[in-house]
């Protein structure tokens, strides 16, 4: 697993093979011609998007770090406004991702096409979704040539979903919202009452070509408590907005690829639980122990003899290979406690940190710590002025902007608060 840094020799070798390939290609009749360097720069990198105009009209590279941090803070504050009231979240979700593969998906305003951008981002989204909602289920539906097709059934495995999607990337014909909603409505009516039913439509088309009255279908979805959300790729459409408003979902239209990805990933954290949408319930679950390495047993899922690993259902003692799933023999939902623990950070989020003003007089600033409490990076830039940074309102430790993002987006612990004895324990 050489990670690129394997000395100069490895890289040179790569270059050589590349050159040979290029020579070969020149011999062929311009078959799979690669883009020229100048074309690549425009098509792939969209380098103009990294520039902005300053006050005096000069072009300057965008300070991406500050912008990224500002974006993150907006997301964080938004989330904490939504989440302050109650720690109830819809953690068990049944989500259908509907992908528009009509003619409009072949447009190339997104590079290389809307379809491939949608597929790429949907893959990222599905992985992130399972990371944040480990007990949830996702299914894929496509719209093509006026009809809607189920690509994968509701399931818990991201890899097979993404593989199925990548194998079916062709687009043609018209798009029909109604057909898609009808199909998904049929599937989602079957899920348990404690689950949150959601549809996320990635819609390229500017119209919908329906066999009947779509308003009736929207009413049906509303009645079945299915939250429908749409991310559009072209422009705002009234019927999409209406659908989302009626069913309690969100509607947004993306400007470009990064924006599309950002909008999509906003659907990964669990939505607030709304009592009327899903009925709170206690679910009986089993927590199997992992068997010791080397034990021989027959698994109930593949019906094969396997050596080592595996889990044993605590009720019927059948062996299963993977978690989470429902025991084939007795129907008990089997999970491991880490599966549940993956969601607990949604219930106990880290409070947003406060920005430390760096316009304070130097005399006051000198009282601040010199280093980030998390990573020990210096908070003092040249000229003994402190860099913009943040501090935790609970433990009042100071953190650099990078740690701020990492703590709230991935770690979900404040290192300062965790390094203090909690009161009352």
């Amino acid at each position: 697993m050489a990670r690129g840094g394997n000395g100069g020799s490895g890289r040179k070798g790569d270059e050589r093979t590349k050159n040979e390939e290029e020579d070969d290609e020149e011999d062929e009749e311009n078959g799979g011609r690669e883009l020229e360097a100048w074309e690549r720069a425009y098509a792939d990198e969209r380098s103009w998007e990294d520039l902005q105009e300053d006050e005096s009209g000069l072009l300057r590279p965008i300070d991406t770090k500050t912008i990224a941090h500002a974006q993150y803070r907006r997301r964080l504050l938004q989330r904490s406004v939504h989440g302050t009231s109650r720690i109830q979240k819809g953690l068990i979700r049944y989500l259908y991702v509907v992908i528009d593969l009509s003619r409009a998906a072949s447009e190339t305003d997104y590079h290389p096409s809307r379809m491939s951008v949608v597929a790429k981002c949907a893959g990222t989204f599905i992985r992130e979704f399972f990371d944040q909602n480990p007990l949830s289920h996702v299914g894929l539906v496509t719209i093509k040539e006026g009809v809607s097709q189920c690509l994968t059934e509701l399931g818990g495995c991201p890899d097979s979903q993404i593989k199925a999607l990548m194998g079916k990337l062709e687009c043609s014909g018209d798009a029909s919202l109604q057909n898609a909603l009808d199909l998904v409505h049929g599937y989602l009516s079957q899920v348990p009452s404690y689950g949150h039913r959601e549809v996320l439509i990635l819609y390229s088309a500017l119209n919908t070509c329906d066999p009947g009255d779509i308003m009736e279908t929207i009413k049906l979805c509303k009645k079945a408590k299915i939250r429908c959300s749409i991310v559009g790729l072209s422009a705002e459409i009234y019927i999409c907005k209406h659908l989302c408003e009626e069913t309690g979902g969100l509607y947004s239209v993306a400007l470009d690829e990064p924006h599309f990805k950002e909008l999509l990933l906003e659907y990964a954290p669990p939505p607030p639980a709304i009592a009327e949408y899903a009925i709170a319930n206690l679910i009986k679950m089993g927590f199997p122990q992992r068997g010791a390495e080397g034990a021989l047993s027959i698994c109930s899922c593949h019906r094969e003899a396997k050596i080592g690993g595996g889990y044993t259902c605590p009720r019927c003692k059948a062996r299963v290979c993977e978690l989470p799933l429902e025991c084939r023999i007795c129907g008990l939902t089997l999970v491991s406690s880490p599966h549940l623990a993956r969601s607990y950070h949604h219930l106990f989020p880290v409070t947003p940190f406060n920005e430390v003003s760096h316009t304070l007089p130097i005399r006051l600033q000198q009282k601040f710590p010199q280093n980030c409490f998390g990573c020990q990076q210096s908070l003092i830039s040249h000229g003994s002025k402190s860099n913009p940074h943040v501090s935790c309102p609970k433990c009042s430790q100071h953190f650099c902007l990078d740690c701020d993002i990492y703590i709230h987006e991935s770690l979900h612990n404040c290192p300062g608060c965790e390094s203090q004895r909690q009161q009352g324990t």
Partner: protein, 302 residues
Amino acid sequence: MASAPSKLYSDDVSLVVVLLDANPFFWAAGAGGGNHPAATLPFAKFLDHVIPFLNSLLLMNQLNQVVLIATGINTCGYIYDSGNGGPEGSDNVSEISSEILLRLEEFVCKDRKIGKGTERAMGGSVSSLLSGSLSLALCYVQKVFRSGAIHPQPRILCLQASPDGPEQYVAVMNAIFSAQRSMVPIDSCVVGVQHSAFLQQASYITGGIYLKPPQLDGLFQYLAAVFATDLQSRNFLQLPKPAGVDFRASCFCHKKTIDMGYVCSVCLSIFCQHQRKCSTCGSEFNQAPREPNSASDTIRKA
């Protein structure tokens, strides 16, 4: 060699963040003698094994980096960072040892001072703030990832003595999942009385090694033979295999370990008995507990 050309960072260059358990209650318990691990291995002797191990990590490859973080009961803190050493002779083994000892002593004093007054309130077995030092270590590792495309391979080694603190469960699990996402293995060497269910899960989930050495007076040998191996070389070695991992859950109501229980569908809290109302999120459960898979119920409800 302050700044080595980046191509020298081949895949066997390691960054090891070592979390050292400095729990005074644990290390003091050995004074009474008996079967307690701290009786065979007092803190000073423990350091006699650990500090040479840190030095040997640094000597194995001149680009290796070692960071030492102490886990206390009232605070956690950075003790030593081999990357901070000045260019002239911080390679000196005895200088490193005395620096670590000095900073550790400062840390233990600080840890005691912060805890003044609360000591009597805590009982005999007090857990260390593992969630704090794990979080610090992960922040440090992220800084290394940010430093550029080419950097040493980071891993975390927990030298844990005191028992797990159940109140840290959520925070420790958060740290484990974050380490897993960034592909940072957590190795664990437990020198305490019992196995640590936290660290068993940490090492299993992140692909690290978990070991509870049976002979504590040979601790250095265990450290050098098992935990000194870089991630690349681990592919070719027969390292200790996990002997089953305890994935059972503990209920929120009694902190009892259970293998079957009831889970709130709203917040996923675990209970050992049926409840009318969830004590974590306040949801009320009106229906009788149901089991998924009973299709009649789902269709009727829908």
